[in-house]
Amino acid sequence: MNAFDPQPAAMCHRCRIPMCWVLLIALDFCLMAFALAQESETPVLSSPVQVTEVRIPGPQNEAGDAARFEAIDVFVDSGNHHLAAWQLELASATKDVEIVGIEGGEHPAFKEPPHYDPRAMNNNRVILGAFNTGSDDELPRGRSRVARVHVRIAGSGDRLWHIELTTSASSGGTKIPAEISIAKAQG
């Protein structure tokens, strides 16, 4: 062994792998765990309530580069339960979307435009809610459009939306299971 020979690296006694490799692998595991922890903490969707992501297709051609106006229909499916109250959060994953109007649903119980929380309102995020004090036979069951959100979208291409149903209740005020979905409104 001359002066230019490298010194033998410290070895793991069990698996005969150099110790620096072990440290690097351990560091990688830490980084992966950290990254996973970050991903699980989605900023808009931190609620334990069911969160859905929906991709709404948009024009892909060059003509679509200008701003366009379209509407997103929001549906709540309360199955066999009568839906008396609901609250939801709708957010676009991108910031080139602006909410420009909120319309009511198709069922007479939710025909009036729902209210929004002005403090939670951003250009691309809104918390909506509505209730109806009518009797069960005046309330919708199954899948029903509860709101239509008019938006301005800058540029072409698809847009990813996050939706979260935070409250769904019966006329007695009991929480009921329900599912939420959205779709591009058709004229």
Partner: protein, 746 residues
């Protein structure tokens, strides 16, 4: 390391704020500005006749230039041999007027080789009076009885439905826009609302579909609206021009179609000598704008778009014209105490008694022309009046509003000698009955003065003049002089209120007397902020009592003047008895005010109280205080001074009052906060940017209209064909009693 949802939200808000600031800096609007049209033309453009025509056509189509009579300018070259080195002589012939009656002027100029002569001539403007069938032919017109001419307008009807609970009103205003023409239009309507209206709901109805408008920063809302309009979508935009003047725009109304706009607001009522007063203004009076004002409120004839050159413009129907636009109004009052009497100042109403404490008021169908303020006063049982508090709790916190009444002892103290300054508006809009009312009011007060007092009479229109160089003793002889001076006053010309203000406040104060300045005016000016700033700067120890004269005075200006001047406001309708109104004024000024007010809130932990500078308490006029709190209301102590004597009293806040919950109180509080911050921003320009951000955020948080926010609604599902069509302003009548010829630019 986890980032909480609220932190993400805060981060998003921060980023959006930065983005919006960047947008402000870049001039977010894509609208063309006048400077583009009037920038200095290039030489080649000047020489190219074709380009000049395009430029003019562009400017005309943009609405910057009104269609006008074409003047002719000929250039005649005389004695111009080729290769001439000598001076060239040019004659220009200007021809103005019609071809038949045109007046011709010939001017000769000497030019050296290489020099150019640019002829820049301004044409004589002849604002177009639209034919009845504009913007398309086939207007849906109806002939009404007893009117000479019915003008089709894009506003069919305004419905007002109000409810009063205690002294907080909730009012729903529905404007029904329609298109009576044969082509697509954009309707623009400049209309008034009460100056303290907290507008926080906006819904657009298209067919049977209702779309809730979104509150946005004003520039952003305007940009969204303009884009939607140019893409053919039905859209609407509500902006605030003054705290009591708003502009409603509705784009892409197709022929025969109707679009409704519903606005909801909350406001507190004024209380005056035992009566609450509900006011709904129906028309913006014709405003005068001093020369060089650009952001004022113009008053022009119907169809004379842009003739005033002001950022906001109201078009007026000429005498004898009538639009089909009418107003219905109903009001439910739940006073909480017995109602003794109901009086409607300017309108005929039907009153239904539901109970001792409740009334239902309906405007008579025969009194539906929107040319005067609806003013309803209801007197409540005097012995039950007490300092009343209303509260509300929501996600933002707990709010209260409290009406603080002056102590009864105030009536026992006599006033000190006064220096009474009367300032009369003698401008064109006061011509006729308004000036007569003001004159009668001043005459009555003059006769009640004693030789302990002094007085001065100032009048202003385009300039100002006064009875004498200084206030004079109110001796019988001097009062006779004053009455003769009053009788000699006429009204015409502009409303240079600043001159009246200077004359009234810019002279040395008589230390031995209490100076009281009474403004008698309709307040029809477009430069309200300038006047209010001047009042704030000059008022000193004077007290200002403002009197709004006429059927539709500028209540924002008059209320603010009185607030800044630590006095009170009163309104003198053409239907009021001036003697009665001025007796009430005399009663108020016959006793000293309770000054330097401070309030000990007891068990309540109170913050963010508005107004931040409490006004004086004057006999017969309580002060409304609004704030946020925690804890339980019980006893409130109010302290102050009368003259040099300290005075204090305690009020047990009735638990029945505090249990009253009104969801509008949060909005009312936020509106008062915005008004207070706006006044601060106006007084302290170096803090204006910071205050503007606070105002903007408050308005967005509470979904409120303000100078910096606007409501926008877009129906993305309705797309009409072609461009957005013709913009049509809704012309309105001049207020009852105001002369069109002396107040509207023709």
């Amino acid at each position: 390391m986890a980032i909480s949802k609220s932190r993400w939200s805060a981060l998003t808000v921060l980023l959006l704020s930065i983005a919006s600031l960047v947008q402000i800096g870049c001039g977010g609007s894509n609208e063309s500005t006048s400077s583009e049209y009037f920038s200095e033309p290039k030489n080649s453009e000047m020489k190219d006749a074709g380009n000049e025509r395009d430029f003019a056509a562009e400017a005309m189509s943009s609405g910057i230039m009104s269609p006008q009579r074409v003047d002719e300018a000929e250039v005649v070259y005389e004695g111009m041999p080729e290769n001439a080195q000598r001076t060239r002589s040019l004659s220009t012939v200007f021809r103005t007027g019609s071809v038949q009656s045109g007046k011709t002027t010939r001017t000769t100029y000497e030019l050296m080789p290489g020099e150019e002569l640019w002829v820049i001539a301004r044409g004589i403007e002849t604002p177009s009076r639209p034919a009845e069938d504009r913007p398309g032919c086939g207007a849906l017109m109806a002939k009404l009885p007893d009117v000479e001419k019915v003008v089709p307008v894009p506003l069919k009807h305004t419905s007002v439905v109000g409810s009063i609970d205690g002294y907080v009103a909730t009012v729903d205003v529905t404007q029904q826009f329609q298109n009576p023409y044969s082509s697509k239009i954009e309707a623009v309507y400049v209309f008034p609302l009460p100056e303290n209206a907290a507008v926080n709901e906006f819904i657009m109805t298209v067919g049977d579909r209702k779309i809730r408008g979104i509150i946005r920063e004003r520039e952003q809302a305007e940009k969204i609206y303009n884009e939607a309009r140019s893409q053919g979508h039905v859209a609407s935009l509500l902006t605030e021009e003054r705290p009591n003047i708003f502009t409603q725009k509705v784009a892409n109304i197709e022929p025969g179609k109707q679009i409704d706009i519903n606005i909801r607001y909350f406001n507190t009522l004024r209380y005056d000598d035992g009566s609450y007063e509900f006011v709904f203004p129906m028309v913006v009076g014709p405003r005068y704008n001093p020369p060089a004002t650009m952001d004022g409120v113009g008053a022009v004839a119907r169809g004379a778009n842009g003739a005033s050159g002001q950022s906001t413009e109201v078009q007026y129907l000429t005498p004898g014209e009538r639009s089909g636009h009418d107003v219905s109004l109903s009001l439910n009052i739940k006073a909480g105490v017995d109602i003794e009497d109901v009086r409607c100042v300017n309108h005929t109403v039907d009153v239904k008694i539901n109970s001792e404490t409740e009334r239902q008021i309906v405007l008579s169908a025969g009194d539906s022309i929107p040319n005067k303020d609806f003013v309803l006063q209801y007197k409540v049982a005097g012995d039950k009046i007490k300092t009343a508090m209303m509260t509300h709790k929501d996600d933002h916190g707990q709010y209260f509003t409290m009406m603080v009444y002056p102590p009864a002892e105030l009536k026992q103290v006599e006033r000190s000698p006064m220096e009474m300054v009367f300032v009369l508006d003698c401008s064109g809009s006061m011509n006729g009955r308004p000036l007569e009312q003001a004159r009668a009011a001043v005459t009555h007060v003059l006769r009640t003065l004693t030789p302990r007092d002094t007085f001065q009479i100032i009048n202003f229109n385009s300039s100002s003049s006064q009875l004498g160089p200084a206030p004079i003793i109110a001796s019988p002889e001097n009062i006779r002089r004053g009455l003769a001076y009053l009788a000699s006053l006429n009204s015409n010309g502009g409303t240079e209120m600043i001159r009246g203000l200077q004359a009234a406040l810019d002279f040395p104060h008589d230390e031995g007397r209490y100076r009281l300045v009474s403004f008698m005016t309709d307040g029809y000016i477009g430069n309200d902020p300038d006047i209010l700033n001047a009042v704030a700067q000059k008022v000193g120890d004077s007290r200002i009592f403002s009197f709004g004269v006429g059927q539709s005075p500028n209540r924002y200006l008059l209320d603010r003047m009185a607030l800044l001047g630590r006095g009170a406001v009163a309104y003198l309708s053409l239907n009021d008895d001036p003697v009665q109104i001025m007796n009430r004024f005399n009663e108020r000024i016959s006793h000293p005010a309770m000054t330097d007010l401070n309030i000990d809130w007891g068990t309540m932990n109170v913050t963010d109280v508005y107004p931040q500078i409490l006004p004086d308490l004057i006999v017969g006029r309580p002060v409304v205080v609004t704030g946020r709190f925690t804890g339980e209301p019980s006893t409130v102590s109010i302290g102050g001074r009368t003259g040099m004597q300290p005075i204090s009293y305690s009020v047990a806040v009735d638990s029945r009052d505090t249990n009253k919950d009104h969801k509008g109180i949060g909005a009312v509080w936020a509106r008062l906060k915005i008004a207070d911050l706006m006044a601060q921003a106006s007084r302290t320009p170096n803090q204006a940017n910071e205050l503007q951000q606070t105002i903007l955020q408050t308005a967005l948080d509470y979904s409120l209209m303000s100078a910096f926010t606007a409501f926008v609604a877009v129906d993305s599902m309705t797309k009409t064909e072609g461009q957005f069509g013709t913009t049509v302003a809704v012309p309105v009548p001049v207020p009852q009693g105001v002369r069109y010829d002396t107040s509207v630019e023709n």
